[in-house]
Every structure is written in structure tokens, then in C-alpha cells.
């Protein structure tokens, strides 16, 4: 199937459940909110090595936040609800509590919740105080700058991780250009993040390794430099570089939507092929077929 000259491979992305939460960070300026958001979502590219996957969903205007200050919303995903709680406590505690002028709020109404502010309050060493407003409890933690405000409980939902598209092109510049266009388009979709740097991974992995200690290793069938060394390659002869975009979302539909707009953008931006990664249907219950995404 062709789209804007790009070959859309007839395959599917295989996504699986992960628990997710939305964190709203506000600050005195947009820059500080963004700084805290970047810090909180740093080193969170893959649950394999980072215990969670996280990213900035979007920047928020003052009229979109609970306290009327500029902010960002970030999404964080872990394998279970307890993992979401632990990672949030670690990351909000180390990266948001410490950042000048920030406050931190739950951004997701959900039946399941995890305790975040109720743990971080202990940093106040007994001087913390709580406030309950409109049924939500907040903790005021005194700090050197003044006061850190954090909501006690954050909603957690069973989301969808591992949505992906993989873009080929003749060389690194053209493949990267297509991936950048796809990532840019995907950032407009609410409820998803692309957890890799700039949204793009150059090092998609396969499960396992010849080294027993490693759970994952380079995806040799998609590495152009290995074309002549491996028994089987999925890199077409005219392709010189490959990038992947991984998508995590709070539900399946936003992941599908992000893949759709990314696929179109990549094709328009000069990708020679667009495909997707799967594990033969054995890993995850969500199979997102590229042919269903082509407009």
C-alpha cells in the first residue's frame, strides 16, 4: 500500500497494557514548569531499563491549570498501579518538589488512585499541613523557597503502551526528517507520550540477547549496517537508516490516533517505508494494523 510515495507495510503494532497517570506541574513561569516536567520525565524511555516510561504530554496555559499558573502535563506509565505510585513518589519528590516555584496536581479523574502527596508530605518533618478543597486533599510542604503544594492522590488507569511506527529512508538525514515530522504531528494528540528523546528512538530492540544478562538487544534485522552479516534482514536494499517512534497512551484510541497522524506525516516528509513492530501477536492484546490507519 502506498501513501505519498511511501510503502506502508501490511503489518501491525503490538501494544500491551501499562498503568498510567497524568501529572500537572505548574510554576511561576512556563520555563520553570517545563524544566520540572523535563526533569521528572527524564531517564524514562523504556520500562525495561528505567522502571517506567514518561514524557511531557503538552504545555498548559494558565487558564488550564488548577492554580491559574502556566504548566505542563506529563504522563507516566509503569507495569502495575503500585509501580506508578512508587515512580511518582520518586520523581515528583526528586524533580518537582526540588524545582523552584512548582506545584504538582493530579490530572486524571480515575477510580483507582495512588498516594503521592501523602508520602511526600513527610519531607516536611512534621511541619507539613494539609488542606481539603472540593473533596481533594493537598499537602503544603515547607521548603527553603517557601512552600511546595502537592495533591495527595493521583488517578491511575490501565493504559496502552508499545504503540509504534518505524520509518525507513535512503539515508539518516531523510529518515530523521520523516521521524521528526511524525513526532511533531503526534504531539498534537492528547493522552499520549513518546517517551524516547525527542519522541524518537534510533535503537529499537529485540527481545533477548546472546548475552544471558541482557533482556533486550539491538534489533539486528532492522540495522542497515548488519544487512550483510545477518541471516535475515528486513531492511530493503535502498534503505540506509531506520527510526522508531514508541507511543504510550492513557487508552487505545489516542495511541491509534497518534500512530495515524504520525504515519501520514512520515509519509509526507519523505519516508520510503513505514512499518511497525510486533512480536507475532504473542506479547500484547492490542494489535493496531497500519492498513486501518491509512486515510
Amino acid at each position: 500500500m502506498k501513501l505519498h510515495g511511501a510503502e506502508i507495510v501490511d503489518t501491525f503494532a503490538e501494544a500491551f497494557p501499562m498503568w498510567g497517570a497524568r501529572v500537572v506541574i505548574t510554576a511561576a513561569t512556563p520555563d520553570w514548569a517545563l524544566e520540572a516536567g523535563r526533569s521528572m520525565t527524564g531517564f524514562a524511555t523504556s520500562v525495561i531499563g528505567c522502571k517506567c516510561e514518561a514524557g511531557i504530554e503538552r504545555e498548559l496555559a494558565s487558564d488550564e491549570t488548577p492554580d491559574g499558573r502556566p504548566g505542563v502535563s506529563a504522563l507516566l506509565f509503569a507495569m502495575d498501579r503500585e509501580g506508578v505510585g512508587k515512580r511518582l513518589v520518586e520523581r515528583v519528590g526528586q524533580c518537582v518538589l526540588t524545582c523552584p516555584t512548582t506545584a504538582c496536581f493530579n490530572g486524571l479523574d480515575a477510580e483507582d488512585t495512588v498516594n503521592v502527596g501523602g508520602q511526600l508530605r513527610f519531607f516536611g518533618d512534621g511541619y507539613q499541613a494539609s488542606k481539603v478543597l472540593a473533596g481533594r486533599r493537598y499537602w503544603r510542604v515547607p521548603v527553603m523557597e517557601g512552600e511546595f503544594l502537592v495533591e495527595e492522590r493521583f488517578g491511575a488507569v490501565k493504559g496502552v503502551a508499545g504503540g509504534n511506527i518505524i520509518m525507513f529512508a535512503g539515508d539518516e538525514e531523510r529518515a530523521r526528517h520523516a521521524a521528526e515530522a511524525a513526532a511533531r504531528a503526534m504531539r498534537g494528540v492528547e493522552g499520549v507520550i513518546m517517551p524516547f528523546p525527542g519522541g524518537i528512538a534510533r535503537s529499537g530492540s529485540k527481545v533477548g540477547s546472546r548475552y544471558s544478562a541482557l533482556p533486550a538487544s539491538t534489533n539486528d534485522v532492522l540495522a542497515p549496517t548488519l544487512r550483510a552479516q545477518v541471516e535475515h534482514t528486513d531492511v530493503p536494499p535502498e534503505v540506509g537508516s531506520v527510526f522508531e517512534i514508541v507511543i504510550d497512551g492513557l487508552a487505545l484510541e489516542p495511541v491509534r490516533e497518534a500512530m495515524k497522524v504520525g504515519l501520514v506525516a512520515a509519509a509526507e516528509a519523505g519516508a520510503s517505508h513505514v512499518t511497525a513492530g510486533n512480536y507475532g501477536g504473542n506479547l500484547g492484546p492490542h494489535h493496531i494494523y497500519l492498513r486501518e490507519l491509512v486515510p
Partner: protein, 267 residues
């Protein structure tokens, strides 16, 4: 559907009418036969009120400033007093919405546990206060008064929010345990006397008791949430108040000194 009770004549003495709550009225077969107390005399609702309509959206019409206990302990529904309300309006309420379109008497919302009480006019003494013999007063919910409030507002406050659009009288937050009282006007003398925890907020200069100690001037992050909430509830909260800096006084030193009075700094 709205159930409307219209006061036909003013009682000679205060009318005890704690049956005038949506919970009881909605379940009554004969609303007119429900008992109220006129002094020591047990009388019927329809001796004083004309009843029309049905439902748990209740509207009381007339000058009810001599009717006590309207909305006491209500748990759900909506109750509107289209005029002044007498003492103890909304006292002990646990849920629902109670709107007083005029003034409210003493003890409005005293011992409240939940729900929302809105007074478009002013409130008397002991707003959200503590009943004699009890340690804790209001324990939850929201009280919004658009006018002024009398002495001892928020006395014994344990949880919840009291917001007053105008000035508050003497000894606001007397012996309060926690919770928040916001005055968009001034606080009278002896504010926070004996308070253990909680927040008193005022937009006008006040001199705290000598047992309060100045901490710093800053922008309390939680206050932005509260003030934006109050603006959404209809109070005239200005941007300067939301963005402003507040002097923090900790007290009361005769207690835990874990409470605070926040005073808006002139811009």
C-alpha cells in the same frame, strides 16, 4: 420540580422549624401536617406556610428571620430561602446546597459537616461556629457569605472552608483546630485566639495578637486554589488577591503555634 413554602404570617415568637429540610419534606406524605414549635406550642407547618409543588428542590419564601433551624442537618437536595433566614440556618448540615438570598441569623452553619451554605447577604455571630459544650465546630463543607459576618465566625473550626466577602467580627477562628477562613475584608480583634492549626486569611491590614509571631512574606501556593474556587463561587476575588504576597503570622503561641494568619500585603 420545586416545592415552595410561603410564610403567610410572622410568628409572634421564633418558630422552631427544623423540619424544613429537603430530606424530611421530600419523604413526607402530608407536609402541611409536619410539626413546628411556636414558642411552647406545637403547631403544623401549614399553620404558618402555604405549601405548593413537590420535590427535593425546596424554596422558602418570605421573611424567615424569626424562623429557626431551617436546613438543620440536611444531607442532600437544594434549599433556597428567598429572603432572610433566622438563627441556626444550615447548622449541622451534611450535604446538599442551602442558599439564603438575604441575611442569615446567628449560628448559621454551626457544626456543619458537609455541603454548601451560601448567604447572599450578611451572617450573624457564630458563623460555622461551635455549639456550647463541644470542642469542634464546623467539620466539613463550604460556607460562602457575600456580605459581612459577626463575631466568632469559625470558632472551633476543624475542617472546611468559610469565606466572607466583607468584614468579619471579633475573635474569628477562636480556638480553631484546622480548616480555613477567608475574609475578603478585614478581621476584627483577637482573630485566631487560641487556634491550634488552620488558616485565617484577610485582605485588610490587621494587628495579630501578641502571641502570634511573624514568619515571612510570600505567596502561599494553596491560597491560589482557594481564591480561584471562591471566585468561581461568586465572590469578588481580584487578581491582586490571587497573585499577591501575604504576611504569615504563626500562632497561637499559647497553643501549638501551628496555625497561621495570612495578611495581604498592599500592592
Amino acid at each position: 420540580m420545586t416545592l415552595t413554602l410561603t410564610l403567610r404570617e410572622q410568628p409572634d415568637v421564633p418558630l422552631e422549624a427544623d423540619v424544613l429540610v429537603p430530606d424530611r419534606l421530600a419523604g413526607a406524605d402530608d407536609i402541611g401536617a409536619l410539626p413546628v414549635w411556636h414558642g411552647k406550642e406545637r403547631v403544623r407547618v401549614d399553620d404558618f406556610f402555604a405549601v405548593s409543588g413537590t420535590g427535593d428542590d425546596v424554596r422558602l419564601e418570605g421573611d424567615l428571620s424569626r424562623v429557626r433551624g431551617v436546613g438543620v442537618g440536611m444531607t442532600a437536595g437544594r434549599l433556597t430561602v428567598a429572603g432572610d433566614a433566622g438563627p441556626h440556618v444550615g447548622a449541622g448540615m451534611r450535604g446538599g446546597e442551602l442558599h439564603v438570598e438575604g441575611d442569615a441569623g446567628d449560628w448559621a452553619g454551626a457544626g456543619m459537616r458537609g455541603g454548601t451554605l451560601v448567604v447572599r447577604g450578611s451572617a450573624g455571630r457564630h458563623l460555622g461556629g461551635v455549639h456550647p459544650g463541644e470542642r469542634a465546630g464546623m467539620r466539613g463543607g463550604e460556607i460562602v457569605v457575600h456580605g459581612d459576618a459577626g463575631d466568632r465566625a469559625g470558632a472551633g473550626l476543624r475542617r472546611g472552608l468559610i469565606a466572607v466577602g466583607g468584614n468579619v467580627g471579633d475573635a474569628a477562628g477562636l480556638r480553631m483546630l484546622a480548616g480555613t477562613l477567608v475574609a475578603l475584608g478585614s478581621l476584627g480583634p483577637r482573630a485566631g485566639a487560641g487556634m491550634r492549626r488552620g488558616s485565617l486569611v484577610t485582605m485588610a491590614p490587621v494587628t495579630p495578637l501578641p502571641t502570634f509571631a511573624f514568619a515571612c512574606t510570600y505567596r502561599p501556593p494553596f491560597l491560589r486554589l482557594y481564591l480561584r474556587r471562591l471566585r468561581a463561587l461568586g465572590l469578588a476575588v481580584s487578581d491582586d488577591q490571587i497573585d499577591g504576597r501575604y504576611a504569615r503570622w504563626s500562632g497561637d503561641g499559647v497553643e501549638l503555634r501551628r496555625g497561621e494568619i495570612l495578611i495581604l500585603e498592599p500592592s
